[in-house]
């Protein structure tokens, strides 16, 4: 049940430049586990010391804020596109 995750430019220095990833995560917690394994440097940028999603990071599933879909309880569907977007981010290029 593959889903795609898009990683913004601001975070790509922690992913060796990788901008997107396909994986079989079933929910948000599972997705974090996958990302932690693949990109260990990314972990502290996504969650705080208590393991909560960082205040200024928004997560969207197919253009919808995941908080409107149930947040961590939302079960990813096949083909879902997950976006990680800093809440007021922008390119620096």
């Amino acid at each position: 049940m593959p889903i795609t995750v898009q990683i913004p430019t601001a975070l790509r220095r922690h992913t060796a430049g990788v901008g997107s990833l396909t994986c079989a995560a079933v929910n948000l917690g599972d997705l974090f586990t996958v990302l932690d394994q693949k990109f260990p440097d990314l972990k502290p940028h996504l969650r705080d010391e208590q393991g909560q999603v960082r205040r200024f990071l928004n997560i969207y599933v197919n253009e919808e804020d995941i908080r409107f879909l149930g947040g961590p309880a939302y079960a990813f569907q096949e083909g879902d596109e997950v976006l990680l977007v800093p809440s007021i981010a922008g390119g620096t290029r």
């Binding site: 220095r13 960082r54 409107f68 976006l83």
Partner: protein, 434 residues
């Protein structure tokens, strides 16, 4: 070297000056920090010096992040601070005349909203950073401001808006030759898209990668209020909240004036105003939460319809830390409040101003604002941009012939029926008084 630089609001890391809005280390927002010691030592800022400068927002240039050699080309800001005794009498039965003020950015130049202030600062930096295209996501007023200032500066403008925006705000963007992109979604979706576009295109997004500079322009509302009150701070500020930046920046402005010795220190209470149909910040304040729970906006106050406010967290902090509060009002209350402000003080504001006035009324009734305190309501936009909100409120009357006898008949009929032309008359007719 500049006397200002970008610094992370959370971890404090310096980022120099560049088009960037977040800290790569902790993902938190950046804000402009100033060398206040150097400013104090230079002696450039005194009440006397400022008062001799032209009446526009550039009189506070030392406290704005402007590029070296910047020459302002538009007299933005320094809008009237009006005493509002007739409105005060309606909002509070015991209000002492002279204590309530309207900061009237409905007449801010050039596009009749406070957004001219932030855009003026953002575009000064956009030029300095070498952008040839500026852009924004907008609920309307920002679109107008970016388009107009870009035209003036010879920059290209790409404006992203929710498709259902008020026609006057779309036209008021088109007319400046800007490229308007209508998005089938709400503001939060437009904003998210702009974050992604800013990641791919080298454009100056005023509220994305230029946001820290842009937001500083809002401080001039606070500087002006203090100066226009005779270099003193009010007891209370009532401020509409969309993204939540303005209320935070007025607080920063007051703190800077205190820090530089331009006003006496004072604990000002900050009150935030939202429409009930989009009230993530006021809901958080009222429920005691320090975090924003995003909402799907559903209100006629479209300029405030941001369900996931970027500065919501800081707005909550500002309000709570000051001993203030936040309230929200229904759409019918917004309409009544637009009419009340117009009928009492001759100021025609847009829906956001209706939200502010309606909220102020609630705060007086809750005794959170006391009648003998100096209170300033921030009116941030012009009613001519949201006339559709008043559609159907006023009947179009039958035309009468240009004859005195016709008029006399008309007058008699009108007096007999005692038609009710406004919200004040309607309230009095219903025996409600205020």
């Amino acid at each position: 070297m500049s006397h200002y630089e970008l610094r992370c609001r959370e971890c404090g890391k310096s980022w120099g000056n560049q088009p960037r809005s977040i800290c790569d280390d902790c993902f938190s927002p950046l804000e402009v920090a100033y060398d206040y010691e150097a400013l104090r030592a230079s002696g450039a800022l005194s009440r006397e010096r400022i008062s001799q400068r032209p009446p526009n927002m550039w009189r506070y240039s030392e406290l704005l992040p402007l590029p070296q050699g910047f020459e302002p080309r538009l007299p933005v800001g320094f809008t009237p601070l009006l005493q509002a005794p007739r409105l005060a009498a309606r909002l509070s039965s015991t209000a002492a005349a002279g204590n309530l003020y309207i900061k009237n950015d409905a007449v801010c130049l050039p596009t009749l909203s406070f957004k001219d202030r932030v855009v003026a600062v953002a575009l000064s930096q956009a030029k300095a950073f070498g952008f040839d295209t500026v852009s924004c996501s907008s609920t309307g007023n920002l679109a107008n401001a970016v388009a107009a200032h870009a035209a003036r500066e010879g920059l290209k403008a790409w404006i992203f808006i929710p498709a259902d925006l008020e026609p006057a705000k779309i036209l008021g963007t088109n007319v400046f030759g800007a490229k308007v992109v209508r998005i089938a979604g709400n503001y939060d979706q437009v904003n998210r898209l702009c974050s992604q576009i800013a990641d791919e295109h080298r454009w100056g997004f005023v509220n994305v990668n230029l946001r820290p500079y842009y937001a500083e322009g809002s401080k001039t509302v606070g500087f002006e209020i203090a100066e226009q009150l005779g270099w003193r701070l009010p007891d209370n500020i009532v401020c509409p909240m969309a993204g939540g930046s303005l209320i935070v920046k007025i607080k920063k402005a007051f703190d800077e004036l205190i820090n530089l010795g331009l006003v006496e220190a004072k604990e000002v209470k900050f009150f935030g105003a939202q429409a009930t149909g989009c009230s993530p910040i006021s809901t958080a304040v009222k429920t005691g939460s320090s975090e924003i729970e995003p909402q799907k906006p559903n209100t006629i106050a479209r300029s405030l319809a941001i369900g996931n406010p970027a500065d919501g967290h800081y707005a909550i902090k500002t309000i709570k830390g000051s001993g203030g509060w936040s309230e929200d009002v229904s759409d019918p209350e917004v309409i009544d409040s637009i009419r009340l402000l117009a009928e009492t003080e001759g100021v025609f504001t847009e829906t956001a101003g209706g939200v502010t006035v309606g909220t102020a009324g609630k705060l007086y009734r809750q005794d959170r604002i006391l009648p003998d305190e100096t209170t300033v309501l921030c009116i941030t936009g012009n009613g001519l941009k949201t006339t559709d909100a008043l559609a159907g409120v006023y009947e179009v009357e039958r035309a009468i012939a240009p004859k005195l006898t016709e008029f006399e008949t008309y007058l008699q009929r009108t007096l007999d029926v005692s038609e009710i032309p406004g919200v004040i008359a309607a309230a009095e007719a219903a025996g409600v008084g205020a």
